[in-house]
């Protein structure tokens, strides 16, 4: 893209992202009000059992006796100031709770994402290179299998195999309890705990990216510039890497951006299976306790993360591919 048009492009994307975030806040507000029962008890997170004085305080704070539009304004203002409410059960602000649980989730999703891209593109490229052979069919079958398997069940089966039967890897938590490792030993410890959850979350996307890479590589391989390269006598490996794979990667980046939300959603299930102390586990605990402020906060924060991630991929895409239109 012409660099002089980048600021305008960026501005338009930022405005769009802001509108989406605002819409999520409004969505949260209406969910609180659509819930059966008193909105104050939803915000307290303890339907029917909450302290009367606390409920009264919530009612004045959110102006629950005022008209709905005014309440919406109070709520939106609070959320924009990053006041995500208070978890009565955990005796802690929701924003602080989520902030505290964010690093493990970022570590988990980041690791699975890297695994999915690396594994998926490699397998897809292999399948495209050996199209029609047994290796190609095997990769297709593996992809179909992971499409059809519930992610939490994959996690349990990996625990069964690698922790219960073989005893190779830990199945629980992020660090060994009471081991008190320091320095590299601690990093190694976390790494060992990370393997199973990251593989569980990544496997499905390995399948997705492998299928997509295979399809786009076959498409690109038919195009004229590849024939030209071959006619010039460029070695086959170089054609694959420089001419085919590079062009085939663009749709993969696009899909990765679109699926960021799914990846975070999947991390709720994976963190629940492996007791990984991240946002997903927090959501599960909040779910068991029906701690609605935390659930709403998790929904808001993960949505905002996806929006920011999409903004980032849009920008990356526009810088990598000069053909991308500035409109939109």
């Amino acid at each position: 893209m012409d660099p002089s048009r980048l600021p305008a492009f960026l501005l338009r994307r930022v405005i769009k992202a802001a509108i989406v975030i605002l819409a999520i806040i409004v969505c949260n507000f209406f969910l609180i009000h659509a819930a059966p029962g008193d909105p104050a008890s939803v915000m307290a997170g303890q339907s029917g059992a909450a302290d009367e004085r606390y409920l009264a305080q919530l009612r004045t704070q959110f102006g629950l006796d005022k008209p709905l539009l005014e309440q919406l304004w109070i709520y939106v203002r609070g959320m924009l100031a990053l006041d995500l409410g208070y978890s009565h059960r955990q005796q802690m602000g929701v924003a602080a709770l989520i902030w505290q649980r964010l690093p493990p989730t970022l570590l988990l999703t980041g690791a699975s994402f890297a695994l999915a891209i690396a594994g998926g593109v490699t397998l897809g490229a292999l399948a495209a290179r050996r199209v029609g052979t047994w290796a190609d069919s095997a990769i297709t079958v593996v992809a179909l299998t992971f499409y059809a398997t519930p992610i939490f069940w994959v996690g349990l089966m990996l625990v069964l195999l690698f922790s219960v039967l073989l005893g190779w890897l830990p199945s629980f938590g992020m660090t060994s309890v009471g081991a008190g490792f320091e320095g590299w030993a601690a990093v190694r410890d976390v790494g060992q705990h990370l393997i199973l959850p990251a593989v569980t979350l990544g496997l499905f996307y390995v399948a997705v990216y492998a299928r997509l890479t295979r399809a786009t590589m076959l498409e690109v391989a038919d195009q004229d510039f590849v024939k030209t390269a071959r006619a010039k006598g460029v070695p086959e490996g170089r054609i694959l890497r420089r001419h085919v794979l590079r062009n085939a990667l663009l749709p993969v980046i696009t899909l990765a951006g679109i699926q960021a939300g799914q990846l975070i959603g999947g991390s709720i299930l994976v963190e629940t299976v492996f007791a990984w102390p991240g946002i997903g586990r927090l959501a599960f605990e909040a779910l068991l306790a029906r701690d609605y402020p935390v659930l709403l906060g998790v929904f808001f924060c993960t949505s905002a993360m996806v929006v920011i991630f999409n903004l980032f991929t849009d920008l990356l895409y526009a810088m990598v591919d000069p053909r991308v239109e500035v409109q939109g």
């Binding site: 969910l31 939803v42 179909l144 059809a148 519930p150 959603g265 299930l269 929904f299 999409n310």
Partner: protein, 278 residues
């Protein structure tokens, strides 16, 4: 119709998928005959491995028969999959049809709305919806429908957009037919084949979504489901692997079968595409 079956049968995977699906449906229908009584009742000693005490797939921590749970769970899974897909199709087809046929700012606004639902983490929204409206079969079906309509709206919109300018639509407009009559009577039948293919894949993902919700403890408390069985086996996996393995196999087979049938339908309904792929 005969031609359709010939093309469908040419895809071997699709035929296998159809057979598996028929078997699962039969299991669901025959569950009360094969396993009389409630799947929640104790049938033997707890933690019996498969094959012991006449329980083919073992028993759980309360002595309930896992096989009976799977058979009764098949009813719920298939039902939730089908009903929520119909509901999602209702939302998606109407919005997509309006957007594609009306065009202009209506199309723009509806597509922004669809995009919004595609951006937000749909699983977390489904969890939130079921938790807030308290878990029941109705809230689960609604939540699944609410998070799974956007792809339908996109596909239907694209079809309507391309069909809108065709001559048979212009002819219908000249005849003075109302817009709704044209949309439902003339354009929709032509878009049906892609909707059918999409629907089979949606049933599969709805079943996966339902199992994930009940795994998290958000299932209808009165109904036995596959996800609930796996969830209750999670904490005792070192003791009783069969509790979580077999229900997962049931989900896997059903979803795989639906995906295969979807591919077969796509081959049979869009023969040009199938030839291009092979």
């Amino acid at each position: 119709m005969k031609e359709f079956w010939i093309r469908f049968a040419r895809n071997r995977g699709a035929v296998v998928g159809l057979v598996v699906l028929v078997l699962v449906a039969a299991l669901a229908v025959l569950a009360p005959v094969l396993f009389p009584g409630s799947p929640w009742d104790m049938a033997g000693a707890p933690f019996m491995p498969p094959g012991e005490m006449g329980m083919l797939l073992g028993s759980d921590s309360l002595g309930r028969d896992v096989a009976s749970g799977i058979a009764h769970g098949a009813r719920i899974s298939l039902m939730v999959g089908a009903v929520s897909t119909v509901a999602a199709l209702g939302i998606g087809v109407s919005l997509g049809a309006i957007a594609g046929y009306a065009g202009g700012w209506v199309d723009d606004a509806l597509m922004r709305f669809t995009e919004f639902f595609q951006t937000i983490p749909s699983f977390i929204l489904a969890v939130l919806l079921v938790a807030i409206f308290s878990p029941s079969i109705t809230s689960i079906v609604c939540a699944i429908a609410i998070v799974s309509w956007p792809p339908v709206a996109r596909v239907v919109r694209a079809e309507f957009l391309s069909l809108r300018g065709r001559e048979f639509v212009q002819a219908a407009e000249c005849l003075g037919k109302s817009r709704i009559a044209i949309m439902v009577g003339d354009i929709l039948p032509n878009a049906l084949s892609s909707i059918v293919v999409l629907a089979s894949l949606m049933v599969a993902s709805a079943i996966l979504l339902e199992s994930a919700l009940s795994f998290l403890g958000l299932g209808d408390p009165n109904l036995m489901t596959w996800g609930f069985l796996i969830g209750s086996g999670r904490s005792v996996i070192r003791l009783a692997w069969w509790m979580s393995v077999f229900p997962g196999v049931a989900i896997f087979l059903t979803v795989l079968a639906l995906n295969l049938v979807g591919e077969g339908l796509s081959d049979a309904l869009n023969p040009r595409l199938a030839r291009g792929r092979a």
